[in-house]
Amino acid sequence: MNNCTEADEYLESLWYINEKSQGAVSDICEHNVSRLSEDTRGGLSDEIIEKLVSENFIEIDEAGKSIKLTPKGLERARHIVRAHRLAERLLYDVMGKNIEDGACEFEHIVTMELVDSICTLLGHPKECPHGLPIPQGKCCELSAKSVNSSVIHLDELDIGKYARIAYVNCPNDQLIHRLNGLSIRPGVTVKLHQSYPTFVIECEGMHIALDNELAENICVWRESEFIDGSKLVAKTKKRKFPFLGRLKK
C-alpha cells in the first residue's frame, strides 16, 4: 500500500468516527480505525500525518491529542466514503458478491466522474447494503434519474410491467418491519398495477397500495431482465448475505 492510499484510508476512518459520534450505526473499514488508533498512539505514522497536515486535510491540536478534518479533508473523505458505499451497492446488487473485499480497493482508484456514473447507473441509492447513508454527489442533486440507469425507481416503471426489487431506501426503521411483513424486499419480483391516484403493486400474490414517496424509494432493475410476466417464475437468483455477522474482531 503506498502512502497515498494509506492517507486516504485515514481520512475515511476519520469520517466513520465522525459519523459514529453523530449517532450513526457503525463503522465499516474497522481495520483502519484500529490501525489509526494504534498508529497514532505508537507514533508510527508520523510521516502520513505530516503529509495530511501539510496538504491541509487535517488539523492537530497543540497537545497532539485530537485530530480534526478540515473542510478540504472532509470533502476528500466524503468522496472516498461515497465511492466505498456505492461500490458495495454495485458489487452486492450487480455481482451478488462479498461486498467487503472489493470495496476498499475500489474507492481509491475511481475518479469523481466514474463514481457519479456508477451512482446514476444504480439510480442514486441513498444507503449502502448495510443501511449506512451514501453521501450525495452532484449527480444526485441534479437527479438525472433514469436516463442511464439500470436501476430505476418504482415510480418510473411502466404500468403493467414486472420488475425485480434491487434495494429499498428505507426512510425509517419501523418501515423495515412493515415492508418485510408484506414481503417487499430485495430479490422479490413486483408488478406495477397503477400509479394514479395511488400506487398499487402486486408482490408475492398480494396487492399493496402505497404512496408516491415510498414508490420512489423502492428501486428495481430495469426490465431487461424480465421481458414479460411469464418468465417470472424463473427463480430469483440465490442471494448470499455475506455481510451478516461480520465481526469487528
Binding site: V25, S26, I176, T198, L214
Partner: protein, 641 residues
Amino acid sequence: MDKVRKVLILGLPNSGKTQICNNLTGTYNLVANYHHTTIDVNRAYYEHGGVLFELYDVPGLYCLYANSEEELLVRNLIFSEEPDVLLFCLDANLLKQSLMLGIELMELGIPIVIALNAIDETSKKGIWIDTAVLSSTLGVPVVESIAIRGIGTRKLKNAIEKARVPKASIYYGDIVEAGVAKVVQELPEDFPFKRKTAMLLLLNDRFLEKDLISTCTTDQYSDIQKSITAITSQFVGSIGKAIYYKRSEWVDQLSEKIVKTQQFDQRSMAKTFAKMSRNIVTGIPILGMIILITYFLVVKVAEKITFIMESYLWKPVIDKISGFVTSPFWWDFLLGSHGVLSLGLGGAVLTVLPILSVFFIVFNVLEDIGYVPNLTVLTRRFFSKVGLSGYSIMPIVLGFGCKTMATFTTRTISSDKEKYIAIFLIAFALPCAPQIGLTMGMMGKVGFKAFMIVLAVLLFTELTAGVLLNLIMKDDTKNTYLQALPAIRIPNVFAVLKKTYYRLYMFLKEALPIFLFSAVVLFTLERTGLLELTKRLLAPVINNFLGLPNDMVDVLLLVLARREAAAAVIMDLIDKGRLNFNQAIVSVTLTTMFVPCFANLGAIIKEIGFRRAMIAAFFITTSSILIAGALNKILLFFNHG
C-alpha cells in the same frame, strides 16, 4: 372439566381467523373481507374430547414487532396469557408473508398447530402446497382448510390436541445469538419469552422498551441498554436489515421446498373488477353506480317490504289490539302518537328494519367481495387534503360501516394528529351504514335531489372540518401509506345472508329495548307536560333558526337515545306531510351530524380520553346546529320554503 386450554388464533390480517374461530366454536362473530375487522379480542369456548378449549380470536398482524397499539394488543396478549397452543392461520394465498410471521411465532417456543387456509383459491391459481413437507420441516401438525365453507374443522380440532413446539429455527449469526443470550441473562426473572423479548429489544421496539422501564430497576435497565448498544455497534450497519435477510432467506428456501406452481396468467372477472374499481376513470363511475343502485334498492324495495308488512302483518294485529283496549289512557300508551307499539315497536320493525335489511345486504356484499379497501386507493389523494396521509384512510372508510368500530381502528394510526382528525371526522358528518340506509330511506320520500343535497352538505362539512383541523393542529410524525388490499372475490351468498341476519339480530337486540324505552319516556314527558315546556323553550331555535316544526323536539330527544329511532319519527313526519322538502333536508342533515351516539362516544373516550372527547362532542353538537341553521336559510333563499 378441570383444565381449560387456551388457544390463540394468530395470522395475517384477513387470513380467515375469525371464520375458523366461528367454525370451531359454533359462535358467530362478524367476518369481513378486509383488514382490521377484529379490533378487540373475541373469546369463545368449545369442548373436544372432554377438554374445554378457550379460543382467543385476535386482530391480524404481520410481525411481532409492534408498530401500533393494535399490534401491541396482540403481542401483549401472547406475552401475558401465555397460551397453551398457538393456532397459526396460514393464508395459502400469501404464503411468504405468512411464513414471515410464522417464523416469529415459532421462535416463541409455544406448541403450534397450523391451519393452511384458503387452499381452494391457491389450487385455482395452479399453486400446490406440499402440506406433508411443511409439517415435517416445521415439526408441527398442518391441517388444510377452507374456512369459509367450514372444511377442515374436525381435523383441526384433532390437530390442536397434537400441537407441538416447532423444531424450526433460524441461526442469526454469532453476534446476534451471543447478544441475545447476553440480554436474556440480564432480563428480570419473571419476564416471559426472554429470547423473543431480547430479539425485539435489539430491533428497537419502542413499546417493549416502555414495558422494560416499568418492570426493571434502573440499574437493570441501563445494563440491558448497554448490552444492546454494544451488540449493535459490533454490527456492520443495520441489525434490523440483517435479521430480516436471514428470515427472508429461510422463507424463500422453505417455500421453494413446498410450493409447486403451474404458472398461467389467470385473468379472472374478480381481478378485472378490482382493477377497475381502483382506477380513477372507471372507479368513480363504479362508486357512483353503487350508490345509485343502493339508493334504488333501499328506497323502492324497502318501501315495498314495509307496505307488505304493514298491510298483512301489522294492520290486522293492531286492529285486534285496538278493539281490546278500551281505556283511553292505555290506548294512548300503546297506540298514541308516542305509543310503545306505534312509535316503539312500529318504528323499529316496520320503518327501520326493512331499510336496514336491504341496506345491510348491499353493504355486506360490498364488504364480502373486498370492495371497501380498494376505495382507499381511489380516495387517498383526496384525504391527504384534509391532513390524513396514511393509515387513517382505512378507519374513515370503515366509518361508513360502523362509527364505533372505525373509532377503535384508529389505533392503527401512530400520529396523534392524524388519529384525532380521523376520530373527529368519523364522529362528525360521516353517516354510518345504518345511517346511510336510513338517509336514503328518508330522502327517498322526498326525492333523489334531496338525497344529493344532503350528501353534498355532509361532504362539504366534513371537508371543511378536516381542512381546518389540519391547519390548526401541529404536525407530528408523518405516516407512510402502505396498505395491503384483499383479493376481490365472488360474494358468498350464504355468508352474506348469515352476516345480514346477525347484523339485524344485533340491531333488534340492542335497539328494540331503546325504541320501546324512548317511547315510554316521550309518552311520560308528554303526559306530564314537560314535552310541551321543552318545545316552548326550544321554539326560537327549532322554529326560527332551523325552520322546523315543534315535532322535531321529539326527534332530537330520540337522537340522544338512538339514531334509528329518530329516523323512524322523521319518516313518519314526512309521510304525514309535516316536513316539507326544505325541512326534510335540514332535519336529516341535523340528525346525521348531531351528537355522536353513545357507543361511538364511548369509543372516542376510550381512544382519546374524556376531556378531549367532550370537547369534540361539544364542538360537533354546536356546529351541527349552526350548519343546519345556515342550510335552512340557504334553502329558503333558493326554494322559498
